[in-house]
């Protein structure tokens, strides 16, 4: 079985965000990019499944320009066998569904049996593309998984179910599984891994290579648009309580009760 890992580059989590002039996106000059932290769990799980003999090949799938290649190489250096990058001008302005269409077409073309993706990309925090891929592939999906086992054609996964409850679920492959913190501890690339990755292929695909019609993706096919991006209002200045421990604690409780009215 081939495992497909959706791998996206996102601004490093400590990036200071600045908004562009037409308030539709962030400025990306001098932003440092990293592999989306949740995708690292997806890649690690795929590599462990392959090591355990449950998969024959681990392929990463990325939508984006050549500027994503360093992150894709990082994935290859950690152990992915090869990478597919979808890059076509017609994809510009795609919403989550447009992105999912492109990725689903590429995953299908490779005959992937298990798709692993981070539970959300920490840029747009959308958390939508993997479930859309599952719908387009017509297969099962499990979200926010922190335990996964594959046995033949079936999987068992533990997922968040709200209220702090974890549900153990089972279903049949093919499936799309989104990965949460706690699933594993992602490895870093080693020096030999980095050397090996240089020889591993990154196949760049156009929409035509995936038999996708340009009218099904891009701004023209989008079901949502984004505007008016801005930064949250600064919090009003707070107050540091002064005095000995007993008196600041008494003052705090009185403030919470009488001023903030939260207790």
């Amino acid at each position: 079985m081939k495992i497909g890992v959706c791998l996206k580059q996102v601004p490093a989590t400590d990036t200071r965000i600045r908004v562009n002039a037409d308030a539709t996106a962030i400025l990306t000059d001098d932003v440092k990019f990293e592999i989306n932290p949740y995708d690292e769990y997806a890649l690690e799980e795929a590599l462990q499944l392959k090591a355990a003999g449950k998969a024959t090949e681990v392929i990463t799938f990325t939508l984006g320009g050549a500027d994503a290649d360093p992150r894709i190489r990082d994935g290859l250096a950690r152990g992915a066998d090869r990478a597919v990058r979808i890059d076509d001008p017609a994809l510009a302005g795609s919403d989550a569904l447009g992105v999912a269409r492109a990725l689903a077409a590429a995953l299908k073309a490779e005959g992937v049996g298990l798709v692993l993706a981070g539970r959300q990309a920490v840029d747009g925090d959308g958390s939508a593309v993997p479930a859309m891929i599952a719908e387009l592939l017509g297969c099962a999906q499990v979200s926010w998984v922190d335990k996964l086992t594959i046995e033949g054609e079936s999987f068992t996964a533990q997922r968040a179910a709200g209220g702090g409850v974890r549900e153990v679920v089972t279903g049949s492959l093919p499936a799309v599984v989104t990965t949460d913190k706690g699933l594993n501890t992602p490895r870093y690339a080693t020096l030999p891994g980095i050397m090996k990755a240089k020889a591993k292929p990154i196949a760049v695909k156009k929409l035509a290579d995936l038999a996708l019609d340009a009218s099904s993706v891009g701004a023209g096919a989008a079901l949502v648009s984004f505007s008016n991006m801005g930064q949250p209002a600064a919090r009003p200045a707070g107050r540091i309580l002064k005095g000995d421990s007993a008196s600041v604690v008494a003052e705090l409780v009185s403030l919470l009760h009488n001023e903030a009215k939260v207790i």
Binding site: L97, V122, S127, E167, L223, V224, P232, V262
Partner: protein
């Protein structure tokens, strides 16, 4: 083109969750046509009308007894079609997060994920949502006939119910056992039965400065219990084994939105702030007066948490 707003109301132990009332009341306030409720499964629907629903669409079948993506997406699609609504709202719970993107692809409806605000612009509902872990906010405009939004819990106030009653309309989604694509075989309940962090109205959180799991449990959990708060933690605390993964607040943990967030010995790293900066009142206890968390705190105490926490626990007990 549809009309009105449909609120997908989740139930727990046979009654609507608080988020159902929050969204029904917000839907009424938006003033964009009739408000109806969608209920999947059984339960007491009698309070939905008083909170603003004029009709309750209900899909009940053995296949929806527990959540599965396949059965729920089909049920949601049938309920939306029956209601004829232009806008669908749901709380951003675990099941809704799983089902809604798939539903969006299935019915070709634009989807705004985990919005924290909604407004009516000339009859069109526009969502506003945090992106980049809350470092920016953006409007989500729906370009399709039907729009879907999941809404972060506690985004809107809940007032006392004041409306009338709603007629229940049974919807047949044509569910079969084949729709239960992923089967639940076990449920692991949390060790303590507190409210889920993402829906909690009060949170007491601790950092790695608590040093051991024993101290974390002894110092913070009784304090949380004194005010019915849910316990949270920084990533450093979780990675050191002081608290569970499910208790992590932040960019790679839970995003929370309580009225009260009390942080003990948490420095206020940007990734932690990402998860709790929208809390209405933030209290920080930290021995370092320069800790970044104080820039976000409504009330700050510079001091040793091991001294402050027990005093605060005792003082809070007097109030409850």
């Amino acid at each position: 083109m549809g009309n009105g707003i449909l609120v997908y109301c989740e139930f727990e132990n046979g009654s609507p969750r608080k988020t159902a009332y929050e969204l029904l009341q917000k839907a009424v306030a938006l003033g964009a046509g009739p408000v109806s409720a969608l209920v999947i499964g059984g339960g007491d629907t009698s309070t939905l009308g008083a909170n603003g629903a004029t009709r309750v669409f209900q899909v009940d079948a053995p296949q929806v007894a527990s959540y599965s993506t396949g059965a729920y997406v089909k049920a949601l699609a049938a309920g939306i079609a029956a209601s004829g609504a232009a806008t669908v709202l749901a709380a951003a719970s675990s099941p809704a997060r799983d089902a809604f993107p798939r539903l969006s692809a299935r019915i070709g409806a634009g989807f705004g994920v985990e919005v924290t605000d909604l407004r009516n612009e000339g009859g069109k509902i526009v969502g506003r949502r945090p992106v980049y872990a809350g470092k920016a906010l953006v409007d989500v405009n729906i370009l399709s006939a039907v729009g879907l939004f999941t809404v972060r819990p506690n985004s809107f106030p809940v007032a006392a119910a004041s409306g009338g009653s709603a007629a229940v309309v049974a919807v047949d989604a044509g569910l079969t056992d084949a729709d239960v694509d992923v089967k639940v075989i076990d449920r692991v309940a949390p060790a303590n039965k507190a409210i889920d962090l993402t829906e909690a109205d009060r949170i007491v959180s601790g950092g790695r400065s608590l040093k051991t799991k024993e101290q974390f449990d002894e110092v913070l959990r009784p304090l949380a219990a004194a005010i019915g708060a849910t316990v949270g933690a920084s990533r450093a605390a979780v990675d050191a084994g002081l608290a569970g993964h499910g208790e992590q607040v932040g960019q790679t943990g839970k995003v929370v939105n309580p009225s009260l967030y009390i942080a003990f010995g948490i420095s206020g790293a940007i990734q932690h702030l990402a998860g709790m900066r929208t809390s209405r009142v933030i209290v920080a206890v930290n021995k370092d007066a320069d800790a970044p968390i104080f820039q976000y705190a409504t009330y700050g105490i510079v001091g040793d948490l091991f001294e402050i926490a027990p005093l605060l626990t005792a003082e809070l007990r007097k109030h409850s």
